[in-house]
C-alpha cells in the first residue's frame, strides 16, 4: 500500500547524515513501504533540513512494535529526567 500518510512536525536539534552533522528543522513520520527494512510496511521517520536539500536527511524504518517501544522510551526518559533539565 502506498499510504503517503505523513505527519509533519517542526523540530529543533541536530542529526548526523551521510555528509556529517547538520541542524534539523523538520521531521516527518509516516507508515509505508520501507526502502530497506525487511517488512512490508514500517513506521518511518525522516529528520530533515529541507533548506539544505533532500540529502540532508536522517532516516529510520521501524516495525510498528519497535516504533511504539521507541515512543515509550522517549517519554519515559523525558519524564524521569531530574527537575530543571528539560
Amino acid at each position: 500500500m502506498c499510504t503517503y500518510l505523513t505527519e509533519k512536525i517542526a523540530v529543533d536539534g541536530s542529526g548526523k547524515g551521510a555528509a556529517g552533522w547538520f541542524s534539523l528543522t523538520d521531521a516527518t513520520v509516516y507508515l509505508d513501504h520501507p526502502q530497506h527494512a525487511p517488512a512490508e510496511h514500517t513506521l518511518n521517520i525522516d529528520f530533515l533540513n529541507p533548506a539544505k536539500g533532500p540529502s540532508a536527511r536522517v532516516a529510520v524504518e521501524l516495525t510498528a512494535e519497535s516504533a511504539r517501544a521507541l515512543a515509550r522510551a522517549i517519554e519515559t526518559t523525558l519524564q524521569s529526567a531530574p527537575p530543571g533539565l528539560v
Binding site: Y30, D32, H33, Q35, E40, P54, A59
Partner: protein, 247 residues
C-alpha cells in the same frame, strides 16, 4: 536473441521541455525492437526498477525509465528523492504524462526502433501507466497493482491524486492488469470496477489476480515478493508485449 544489452543513464526531454534524468537499457545486435517506458514505483528510481529495465532489454526491448523525482531532488539518492517527492504529495498527473510522452518520443527516435512503444508501471506507477495510456498514443500498457485508478485515497492521506477510472473511454491501447488478490490498494473490488468500466467502454484488456499475493509481488528484494505470481506475471508481460510491441 542473444540477450546482449547496454544500459546507461541519459538525459531526456520531459514535461514542459525540462531535461530530466532517465535510465535507458537497450538490446545490442538486434536490427529492430519495440520500446517500453518503465514507470518506477513510489520508492523511486531505484536499483530494483533499473534491473527491471535491463530485463526488458535482455528480452529484446528498449526500456527507458524516467526519473520522475528528478525535479524534486536532482542528484539525490533514490530514497532521499522519494522522501522529497512524498513530502510534496507525489508526482502531478500532468507532469507524469509529459515525462512519459517525452520518454516515448525518445524511444521512437532510437536507431532500430520499430515505432511501437508500450508502458509499464508498478505501485503508484501502475496508476500512472493507465493514466499515460489514456492520454498518449501508445501501443500497449501494463498496470501492475496500481492504486487509486478506482477509489479515492482514504481520509488523512495528503495524496494529490484522485481516481481516473473515468478516463477508460480514452484508453488508446490494449491494457494488461496484474494484481494481488490480497492487495487492498487496489482491492479486488476496485480491480473489478476497473474491469467493468473497460468492458463498458469496449476496451481490449486482460486482468490477472494472483491468490496468495498482495501489493508489490514483483519486487524481488522485498518481503512482498511472490515467486509464483511474479514468474507468471513476467510470462504474461512477454506474451502481451510480444503481441503488440515486438518486431
Amino acid at each position: 536473441m542473444n540477450e546482449a544489452l547496454i544500459a546507461e543513464t541519459i538525459s531526456i526531454t520531459g514535461h514542459d521541455g525540462d531535461e530530466i534524468e532517465a535510465y535507458l537499457a537497450r538490446p545490442l545486435g538486434q536490427d529492430s525492437f519495440g520500446g517500453v517506458v518503465v514507470i518506477h514505483h513510489m520508492p523511486g528510481y531505484d536499483g530494483g526498477t533499473k534491473e527491471i529495465a535491463r530485463t526488458f532489454a535482455a528480452h529484446g526491448y528498449a526500456a527507458l525509465m524516467p526519473n520522475l523525482y528528478h525535479r524534486d531532488a536532482p542528484g539525490a539518492s533514490p530514497d532521499d528523492a522519494a522522501a522529497a517527492a512524498r513530502a510534496k504529495g507525489g508526482v502531478p498527473d500532468e507532469r507524469l504524462v509529459g515525462d512519459v510522452g517525452g520518454a516515448a518520443a525518445h524511444l521512437r527516435a532510437l536507431e532500430g526502433s520499430n515505432g511501437k512503444v508500450g508502458v509499464i508501471g508498478y505501485c503508484s506507477g501502475g496508476r500512472q501507466s493507465f493514466l499515460a495510456a489514456c492520454s498518449l498514443p501508445l501501443d500497449a500498457a501494463v498496470d501492475c497493482y496500481g492504486a487509486f485508478v478506482v477509489g479515492t485515497p482514504p481520509e488523512g492521506m495528503p495524496l494529490k491524486v484522485g481516481p481516473i477510472v473515468h478516463l477508460a473511454p480514452d484508453l488508446a491501447c490494449p491494457l494488461l492488469g496484474l494484481f494481488g488478490a490480497e492487495d487492498q490498494y487496489p482491492s479486488p473490488d476496485q480491480v473489478a470496477e476497473l474491469d467493468k468500466a473497460l468492458i463498458e467502454a469496449g476496451k481490449a484488456h486482460e486482468f490477472h489476480s494472483y491468490e496468495g499475493a498482495g501489493h508489490a509481488f514483483f519486487s524481488a528484494n522485498r518481503p512482498a515478493y511472490r515467486v509464483e505470481a511474479a514468474n507468471d506475471g513476467w510470462q504474461r508481460i512477454w506474451d502481451f508485449f510480444g503481441r503488440y510491441l515486438a518486431g
